[in-house]
Amino acid sequence: MSHGHAKEFKVRWGMVVDVDKCTGCGACMVACQVENNISPMVRQDKENYLPSMTFERDDPSNKMRTLTWLMVYELSNRKDYPDHEVAFLPRPCMQCGNPACVPVCPVVATDKNEEGGIVSQIYPRCIGCRYCMAACPYHARYFNWFDPIWPKGMDKALSPRTSVRPRGVVEKCNFCHTRFLKAKERARQEGIDPNELPEGYYTPACVEVCPTGAITFGDLNNPEHKVHQLAHGKYAFRLLEKLGLDPQVYYLTKRDWVRKQGDNYLANEEPHAKKH
């Protein structure tokens, strides 16, 4: 990318999603919402309701207004039965090596600076201009159109590990970053170097919950971690790889049509596996 040199990290946390294993059950999306204190969309704000003055909130099914840090997309090969096939593609934040969102932020609310390469988002610093949302080609960023409201009783189940966000700021997946901080703390307690976490110490909520084991997580730079091998495998590809954003999320598939939908290939062009 023209914007400076990508920062090098000793550890690069990465995710490998096996698209062929994903059944589209959505458990990862639910786990993500719970872990990261994302409130369900409530149509009416009863606390601040003035008849004739308050607009109702959006429909909970309106995906333009809801927050889904991890979104499972349904892909179709657009063929008729009996050749019809679908695939499900979970899309977290790609934690790009050259993030498009970071250089456009006017207040440095988002940055890629910490060891591990996770793109940070500091909510109190965000001014809600949404340049980053416009810049992100993966649509991984979400804007809080409304203050979060938890239905009665559900606020008791909030996770203390994640801070809640007010209306007017942008948020996104951060690979359950506080789990990383917790893992480092545990490593220190056990006398392990926190910069060389063994596999399994740090696992995001979606990876932990996936019933088919479609998501693998670890350090892409560490050959002992499973993701290192998977990301360098024959069936690995990344979304919109041609843009050169160098995402830290890889996908696996043996189906060519799935791979073809992962980037803007020309009609006569053959999709290729990741080059090394």
């Binding site: 109190p124 951060n174 480092k184 056990e190």
Partner: protein
């Protein structure tokens, strides 16, 4: 006329000075007292009395197995000794009657309470003395009052971001946002 008014203007220096002094007194002395609301701990907990019994600091303030820090003892821990009144102190009687017997946790006022979006690991700061950041309560008989900023709601002694950043910078530790924020 114009010149006369200008020369007369020097007499305005005295009211200006009085106003300046008054506002300085207000801003330096009165305002800080107004924005901090002083509150005492719900129980007059004496660290010295507990230390005299031969208790170690780590008996109540310790690291759990996962590296997280147990800063304040729970009622169960206190009840290991305080099943009945052990001494004559009215503070103890108040604790047993109002909290322990009712099964209520004591709402201790925390001098260093950080905002929701701050992550602090005690384990990562294991090498420092507790009193580098915390007030030295270990030798106190009466805990000092807690000053709450009525505008922000935080304690007066809560460490500010620039203090964290300065120490990190001096120690060569990363100041990336996600090192301390969540």
């Amino acid at each position: 006329m114009e010149e006369k008014r200008a020369s007369k203007g020097s007499g305005g220096a005295i009211p200006f000075l009085i106003g300046f002094v008054l506002s300085a007194v207000f801003l330096w002395i009165i305002f800080p007292q107004v924005i901090y609301c002083q509150k005492d701990q719900p129980i007059r907990f004496s660290h010295t009395v507990h230390k005299e019994q031969g208790m170690e600091c780590s008996g109540c303030h310790f690291f759990r197995e996962d590296g997280s820090y147990a800063g304040l003892p729970s009622n169960e821990q206190c009840a290991e000794c305080h099943t009945d009144l052990m001494g004559q102190d009215p503070a103890e009687a108040k604790y047993v009657k109002e909290f322990l017997e009712k099964g209520r946790a004591v709402p201790w006022l925390i001098y260093q309470y950080q905002p929701d979006n701050v992550y602090f690991s005690h384990k990562a700061h294991d090498g420092f003395e507790c009193t580098d950041c915390h007030p030295n309560l270990g030798d106190s008989d009466t805990p000092p009052p807690h000053y709450r900023n009525v505008i922000t709601g935080y304690s007066k002694q809560t460490m500010k971001m620039w203090q964290c950043e300065r120490c990190h910078a001096e120690g060569g530790v990363s100041n990336a946002c996600y090192v301390c924020h969540k």
